[in-house]
């Protein structure tokens, strides 16, 4: 401890060193390996060698543009649906939940207590052809007699929405709960209607939660392959499915690595633009 006393300026670095070193070796360095591999050429039988093969990126974007587009489309839809669904719910818990608020919050995080794959399999059961939802939709005529939900984009988007909902609802709740009720009362004292007070006071004050929630939902949803695999068919495959099969089944590392990088770069770019549009303070809190 005498050493620490003499070198107080070193203390934060000593505290940081083990954790940051770990993240450096097992997060940053692997990304470097991935980048390196994305520029290799060759095939599994003869092996891959580094050749600055930028063509991999071209092939990734050209050959799989529909899967990329689908990933962002599905993830965007799921994010919007999750926002529309959870805002009123989070609002109700924050403003009407009373002292049981924390208990109601449990309902929101409850999906997280069931293993991700198991709850997706449960949706497979619910949306199955013999399942209750399809039977009901066929009875009221929305689906034809042979109509189904599994293996359609409806099922995949529904699965994505449900699976990442807590990521949306929790930050929304946190930002709504912090709102000073007196501000809303003040707006109403100044003759704002309830609706106007909500739009001009509550919504702007809850924006940090909206921003955090949309990012936390969109990012994992865009890279997901489980929902498309279990609830969809090859027609609903997202870029995650392609990366997964190229890596683990086809052993085409350079192609899979370049796709991973395109996915990550697109997401980071999107996050940066989004952060710029809404202001960075809201992003980092």
């Amino acid at each position: 401890m005498g050493f620490l006393h003499r070198h107080r300026g070193l203390t934060p670095y000593l505290l940081l060193a083990p954790g940051l070193l770990y993240l450096g070796v097992f997060f940053a360095v692997p990304l470097g390996f991935l980048l390196y591999q994305s520029l290799e050429s060759g095939n599994f039988d003869v092996g891959y060698s580094f050749t600055w093969a930028w063509g991999n990126y071209w092939h990734a974007i050209r050959g799989y543009s529909s899967q990329f587009a689908r990933s962002f489309e599905y993830a965007g839809l799921a994010t919007v649906l999750a926002l529309l669904f959870s805002y009123p719910l989070a609002y109700w818990i924050a403003f009407r939940g009373g002292k049981w608020r924390n208990l109601f919050l449990l309902f929101i995080v409850a999906p997280f207590f069931v293993t991700y794959l198991i709850r997706t399999l449960a949706w497979e059961t619910i949306l199955a052809d013999q399942g209750p939802v399809v039977r009901f939709l066929r009875d009221i005529g929305i689906l034809g007699s042979g109509g189904r939900l599994l293996a359609t984009s409806v099922a995949v988007v529904a699965g994505l929405t449900y699976n990442f909902l807590p990521f949306m609802a929790l930050p929304l709740y946190v930002s709504l709960e912090q709102i000073d009720q007196r501000l809303i009362e003040a707006a109403q004292d100044l003759y704002a209607s309830k609706w106007k007070a909500f739009l001009r006071v509550t919504v702007p004050l809850s924006l940090p939660g909206v921003v955090a929630g949309t990012l936390l939902t969109f990012i994992p949803a865009a890279g997901d392959f489980i929902n498309a695999e279990l609830l969809g068919s090859t027609n609903q495959h997202m870029i995650g499915n392609v990366i997964q099969s190229k890596f683990l089944e086809l052993i085409d590392y350079p192609a899979a690595a370049s796709m991973s990088f395109v996915l990550m770069a697109t997401i980071l770019l999107g996050v940066a633009l989004y952060a710029r549009a809404v202001g960075t303070e809201k992003l980092t809190g």
Binding site: M1, H5, G9, Y13, L15, L16, G19, Y22, L23, F26, F27, V29, P30, F33, L34, Y36, Q37, F85, P88, L89, I93, R96, W100, N102, F104, L106, F107, I108, V109, P111, F113, V114, T115, Y116, L117, I118, R119, L121, A122, E124, T125, A128, Y162, I219, P220, A222, G223, D224, F225, G240, I243, F247, L248, Y253, A257, S260, M264, L268, V271, T284
Partner: protein, 287 residues
């Protein structure tokens, strides 16, 4: 005739009252429906753990039975997968929380140059899609020189889990440290405690709830992880990997049993925690 008019008037009054009730409570009704939607698949998981499936697929309700609960490990490989998940979860939550606590202390307590860069390094793993995390680690472990030293299996799973848990740990503990009264530590030092004694006798007990919360969160995240594990598990099978493999040929109802048990244990813990909080608030209010 007047009787009819009166009853009609009363009915329209009733209707108006009902409409006013609905309007006042529309949000509450919505919230209840929302909760029902959130619980729906969980209900299915629990219900189908009691199903007596016909054939391989546990999709159609075919009769109630306790057999799946009695013979929960009647499926080969399930028990060892569960044991592996718990082992990895315990070790990963312990290691990640230790590393995360140190980082959080540095970030909250000290002003130093690399603060911004550190915050970004903590934020990045959280904002990287899991598939990229898993794939990049696989390219590291799959490298010829490195795979001579460490092969895909227990240790690579553990390394991966600690990696993505660190950020969760830092975020959880930082939140608690920010609201921390530093005067308590200064008082201890004034009373002659050295830095180590102050840390172990004052700081650590005060942030103990945050450390516990971080370990629980890391454990939950680790036990639930599929994507990163799937890429880096090699021949080893964790519980989510077991579910994935069995889903292709029809998941046995025992998977639902384990899912239900995990759910019930987690919810019981959370409800107990909430009730303790409410009681504490109430006793604080009466004092």
């Amino acid at each position: 005739m007047s009787a009819i008019a009166v009853s009609a008037a009363r009915r329209s009054q009733d209707l108006a009252a009902a409409w006013a009730f609905v309007r006042r409570h529309v949000l509450t009704v919505y919230a209840m429906l929302g909760f029902a939607y959130l619980m729906l698949p969980i209900g299915f998981v629990i219900a189908f753990s009691f199903n007596h499936p016909q054939g391989r697929f546990n999709y159609v309700w075919n009769g109630f039975t306790f057999d799946n609960w009695k013979h929960w490990d009647g499926v080969p490989g399930l028990r060892s997968a569960l044991v592996l998940s718990i082992e990895i979860g315990l070790l990963a939550s312990l290691l990640a929380t230790a590393l995360g606590t140190l980082i959080a202390l540095a970030l909250v307590r000290y002003r130093f140059r690399a603060r911004g860069a550190t915050n970004i390094l903590i934020f990045l793993p959280l904002s990287t899609p899991e598939i990229v995390l898993g794939a990049s680690l696989l390219t590291l472990f799959g490298n010829r020189q490195i795979s001579n030293v460490i092969q895909l299996g227990f240790w690579t799973i553990l390394i991966a889990h600690v990696m993505f848990c660190i950020s969760f740990a830092v975020v959880t503990i930082k939140a608690r440290l920010i609201g921390f009264d530093r005067h308590l530590e200064e008082a201890a030092m004034d009373l002659g405690a050295n830095e180590w004694a102050t840390f172990t006798k004052v700081t650590l007990p005060l942030i103990a709830p945050a450390i516990l919360a971080s370990m629980l969160l890391c454990f939950a995240v680790s036990v639930d992880d599929f994507v990163v594990t799937y890429f880096n598990a090699g021949p080893r099978v964790t519980f989510p990997v077991f579910v994935w493999n069995s889903a292709r040929v029809g998941a046995p109802p025992q998977v639902n049993v384990i899912g239900s048990v995990i759910f019930i244990v987690a919810v019981t813990g959370m409800v107990a925690n909430v009730l303790v909080q409410i009681r504490r608030q109430r006793s604080a209010a009466t004092v």
